[in-house]
């Protein structure tokens, strides 16, 4: 119905300038905060990764979505095999096996964040929507395999993100509300059972910390208490750039990575937080708009699912550092320091952009 998009020049450039400028704006904002939290050394490394990320994004933006659709099943199989390999040969860091060494250190779980929406979108591309029970079952099995493998590493945060990205495909595919409600009910009943039989001690501790952070202020809840102090002490306008005492005096842990939003909140206040959230909102709405305009089911589903996953990143990170959600180790997209997450997110944004570049044009 919206057919007045005569942006032929865009076809030539294959760039969504809206998305690109929002991303660059976000990156600059992020670097400003990172400089305060971690200094020039981290900023330099982060800039290199961001540059690589932009290159990867622009490269993926040029690919025709059909090509992605073609390799999706193979990518899925490779991802699952790599995840199995991680459990067998993986190399341990901070109590979790997440890394594979193939020339460079490599985290297959990050790859899963991209392949799951891709393969499920591929799975539903010719199916009748809304999906019937059988196809739901098949897609759930396809989803659970990598989710369980990642959870086993153990990496609760990533397995949640991967699971959520798959569920978004189903949601966008028109999964009936009946299933959605019963699914939520199942998770609610399964949670206590998982708690007893499946969560490791440190995962349990994290959840307990979330439920009752004031219980031991020097133990595992230290992080969340200090983060809340950092956020709250920032007030409306913040303590000023590089003036956040919680950050600068090391009371705030992980202040360059997972807790970088606390730094921002401390130094730039609520105003700074709202500005950041508005930039995210703009990116998310742009992504949803692209999905809305996509030319077919495959494009719609994975552009929409990737956008919503991006949103979930923001929501979980902001929720966990402010004490709304348990600390599960989800970075703030494009602001947290860390190479893998930037590349994954930029790749997903590149794919979204590719959908935009190959959207329906004057389609009947």
């Amino acid at each position: 119905m919206i057919q007045n998009q005569h942006n032929f020049h865009n076809k030539r450039h294959y760039v969504d300038w809206w998305l690109l400028s929002l991303i660059v704006l976000l990156m600059c904002y992020g670097l400003l905060v990172l400089y305060s939290a971690g200094g020039w050394v981290l900023v330099k490394q982060q800039m290199i990764r961001m540059a690589l990320g932009i290159v990867a994004m622009l490269f993926l933006a040029q690919l025709k979505p059909e090509k992605l659709s073609g390799i999706a099943p193979w990518l899925y199989i490779i991802t699952v095999m790599l995840l199995i390999a991680v459990l067998i040969f993986g190399y341990e860091s901070k109590g979790a096996q997440r890394w594979l060494k193939i020339g460079i250190r490599f985290q297959p779980s990050e790859l899963a964040k991209l392949t799951i929406p891709l393969v499920l979108a591929w799975f539903y591309r010719y199916r009748v929507l809304p999906p019937d029970f059988k196809s739901i079952l098949i897609s759930i099995v396809m989803l659970l395999m990598p989710v369980v493998l990642i959870y086993k590493q153990p990496d609760l945060g990533t397995s949640i993100m991967v699971g959520v990205s798959g569920i978004f495909v189903l949601f966008l595919a028109g999964l009936s509300w009946k299933y959605i409600v019963s699914g939520i009910a199942t998770v609610a009943t399964a949670a206590p059972i998982l708690w007893h039989y499946s969560l490791s001690a440190y995962q349990k501790r994290r959840v307990m910390t979330f439920l009752n952070p004031e219980n031991d202020s020097l133990g595992s809840s230290w992080n969340i208490i200090q983060s809340k102090i950092a956020i709250g002490s920032g007030g409306l306008f913040g303590k000023g750039w590089q003036n956040g005492s919680q950050t600068q005096l090391d009371f705030l842990p992980e202040h360059s990575t997972d807790f970088i939003l606390s730094v921002l909140a401390e130094e730039f206040g609520l105003i700074g937080v709202v500005i950041l959230l508005l930039i995210y909102l703009a990116i998310i709405f742009r992504g949803l708009y692209i999905a809305f305009q996509a030319k077919d089911t495959f494009n719609r589903l994975f552009a929409g699912a990737l956008t919503l996953t991006f949103f979930v990143y923001v929501f979980i990170n902001a929720g966990m550092i402010s004490g709304l959600l348990p600390v599960v180790g989800v970075p703030l997209p494009l602001v947290s320091y860390g190479g893998t997450s930037i590349l994954t997110i930029m790749a997903s944004l590149g794919m979204i952009m590719s959908v935009y570049n190959h959207r329906k044009l004057l389609k009947s």
């Binding site: 009748v128 956020i231 709250g232 002490s233 005492s245 005096l249 998310i284 919503l308 929720g319 709304l324």
Partner: protein, 613 residues
């Protein structure tokens, strides 16, 4: 419904469903972002003040800087007590992983034995885990360096620098200065928390306790910004501590040393006082102890050896030891006789060797068998004639004796600047009725005349009375801390000068006359006025008292007393000697007083060489 079943797919329915889901997504996103914004609003606006306070509490640490305790000097400016920089080795139990192993590893480095380790492990059980426990209060230089080199392997252990109280003179001065010790729970209740923040020691005994307020000083505060690891980044505000006041004693440490040594093997007390201004020049209680042992807590072994010693080294005889004045009371009794006009200055009586109350069988003996013959007042003092005083006491009666002696502060506290002084006892009819419930008997008056019976004095009381006597009635508060002004107090208005000089002459004759009991200590350079006495130690059999052939076991021998002042015509020093179980006042105690007087006066003479004789 299988793959490729394109025909059944309805593009319009699917688009509608999809658009519908995008619409829901937008709503969900908006709701979720609103929740986040509200959460941040809650923390950053509603909770802002509380959390800002917490963040400041994180950032700013206040430590108190303990003041340095004041030094103690002697009258000539010699340093007696100071603070030495030293290191102690301590650990925080909760920061040590394997305490037993670590302590074993420390053993060769800082010389610990298994007993020490056992005690430490016991302490750990009874202490909160965050409170440091001291392994060794004073590290030697070798111990310190060998620990510092390996410090990285002992996490939770640290060598902490601090100032330790140091007593340069141990035994001879212990009873005067006392000591400081670690603040315990009882001290905590007593002491002002604000003034003692960061302070670990407080005065426990002697002047250290009495002058705690002045010696302690005022603590300072240091407000710093520190990071999460506790490293101080910058100081925000510093209020420097104010050191405690130094104290200058009236004690002459050289004289103190002389007095302590003069007692030789004997236990007892020597007090030297300048009667004109009340300054105590020396105050010895022998044996003493080492106050340094108490600063960081004395070991159980050392403490029980002090407590169980029959010589009672912790007992301050100068202010707590109760002794009969014995014959040293005689000058006062004679003066009482003159004052009350019972006798005149030319009064004489005949000593036949014993005294009897009318209609009583009991004989009160002279120390000399057969008596001393015709005796005047000065002779009665020089030869210490008991019968003269039995008779005089009866003539005076107990009431007049009591009412006269009270002006010489017998039975009163001296109010010296050390706590724990014992109040002596000046007996009276009323006292006996109140305490014993019986009437006063004349026989008791008889022995009161020679300072026996219920009479009890501490050496400091004897010194106070002696000063008044030497000053011819002028009382000056005896004290240990140098003062700029002296509070003088005339106690008698109407004792005639000739009475005083008669008594003084009698005391001079004790030392300088041919028959004087203490003539051994006479000295051509100046006149000494003195009086010996013996303080009875009970337990001997009556008949043995005068039997000189029996060697009395040491612990049953009488205490030897001597009071003296010199130069007699212009007293600069008054000395009281109590030599426990010294038997003879003139034989044992007098020479000790002689040494002390000679030391002091010769030092003064040396100082005023050209001019005075």
């Amino acid at each position: 419904m299988n793959h490729g079943n394109k025909q059944i797919k309805n593009a319009q329915i699917e688009t509608r469903i999809f658009n519908n889901r995008i619409f829901y997504s937008v709503i969900i996103v908006i709701i979720a972002i609103s929740i986040i914004i509200f959460r941040f609003f809650y923390l950053q606006v509603i909770q802002h003040e509380t959390l800002l306070f917490n963040s400041e509490k994180n950032r700013i640490k206040t430590t108190s800087l303990p003041p340095a305790r004041g030094f103690i000097y002697d009258r000539n400016g010699k340093l007696l007590v100071d603070n030495l920089p030293t290191y102690r080795l301590q650990f925080i139990p909760e920061k040590v992983l394997d305490l037993k192993t670590k302590l074993d590893e420390l053993k060769p480095l800082v010389k610990l034995d298994d007993n020490d380790i056992e005690t430490l492990l016991l302490q750990v059980e009874n202490n909160p885990a965050f409170k440091p426990i001291i392994v060794k209060p004073k590290l030697t230089e070798t111990e310190l360096s060998s620990f510092i080199v390996r410090k990285h392997t002992f996490s939770g252990f640290d060598a902490i620098p601090y100032l330790i109280r140091h007593y340069k003179y141990t035994n001879i001065l212990a009873h005067i200065v006392g000591y400081v010790g670690r603040i315990n729970d009882a001290d905590n209740k007593r002491l002002d928390k604000n003034r003692y923040m960061g302070t670990e020691y407080t005065g426990k005994r002697g002047l250290e306790k009495y002058h705690e307020k002045s010696l302690h000083g005022q603590p300072g505060t240091l407000i710093v910004e520190s990071n999460a690891q506790g490293r101080v980044l910058k100081s925000i505000e510093q209020i420097s501590p104010v050191s405690g006041n130094d104290i200058t004693l009236t004690i002459d440490i050289d004289l103190q040393k002389t007095a302590y040594q003069a007692l030789g093997e004997l236990t007892g007390s020597v007090i030297a006082i300048d009667p004109k201004n009340g300054e105590i020049l020396a105050m010895v209680s022998k044996p003493g102890f080492d106050p340094n042992d108490f600063v960081n807590g004395i070991s159980q072994v050392k403490y029980s050896s002090l407590i169980n010693s029959i010589e009672k080294p912790l007992f301050n005889r100068s202010i707590k030891g109760g002794y009969e004045p014995g014959s040293t009371i005689k000058p006062y009794i004679a003066l009482a006789g003159l004052y009350n006009n019972i006798i005149g200055i030319n009064y004489k009586m005949f000593s036949k060797g014993y005294f009897q109350l009318p209609n009583k069988d009991r004989k009160y003996h002279d120390w000399k068998e057969g008596g001393h013959g015709n005796i005047n007042i000065t002779q009665s003092l020089a030869q210490s004639v008991n019968t003269f005083y039995y008779d005089l006491a009866i003539k005076l009666g107990i009431d007049r004796i009591h009412d006269f002696l009270i002006h010489f502060k017998f039975g009163e506290l001296s109010n010296i600047e050390i706590l724990g002084e014992m109040r002596g006892l000046l007996p009276s009819r009323k006292w006996k009725k109140d305490k014993k419930g019986t009437i006063w008997y004349p026989g008791e008056t008889v022995i009161t005349g020679i300072g026996q019976g219920y009479f009890v004095n501490t050496p400091i009381q004897l010194a106070t009375s002696l000063s008044i006597l030497a000053n011819k009635g002028l009382f000056v508060q005896p004290h240990l801390i140098k003062k700029d002004e002296i509070i003088e107090k005339q106690i008698f208005l109407d004792i005639e000068e000739q009475y005083w000089s008669t008594i003084h002459q009698g005391m001079i004759d004790v030392v300088h006359s041919a028959k004087g009991s203490a003539r051994a200590i006479r000295n051509p350079n100046y006149l000494i006025a003195g009086k010996s006495g013996t303080s009875q130690v009970y337990g001997k059999k009556e008949e043995d008292v005068y039997n000189k052939n029996i060697e009395t076991p040491k612990h049953l021998r009488n205490h030897a007393l001597f009071i003296s002042f010199a130069p007699a015509n212009d007293p600069k020093i008054a000395v009281v000697v109590v030599a426990e179980h010294g038997s003879s006042g003139s034989g044992t105690a007098a020479p000790i007083a002689g040494i002390v007087i000679e030391k002091y006066l010769s030092d003064i003479l040396k100082m005023n060489q050209p001019g005075n004789k």
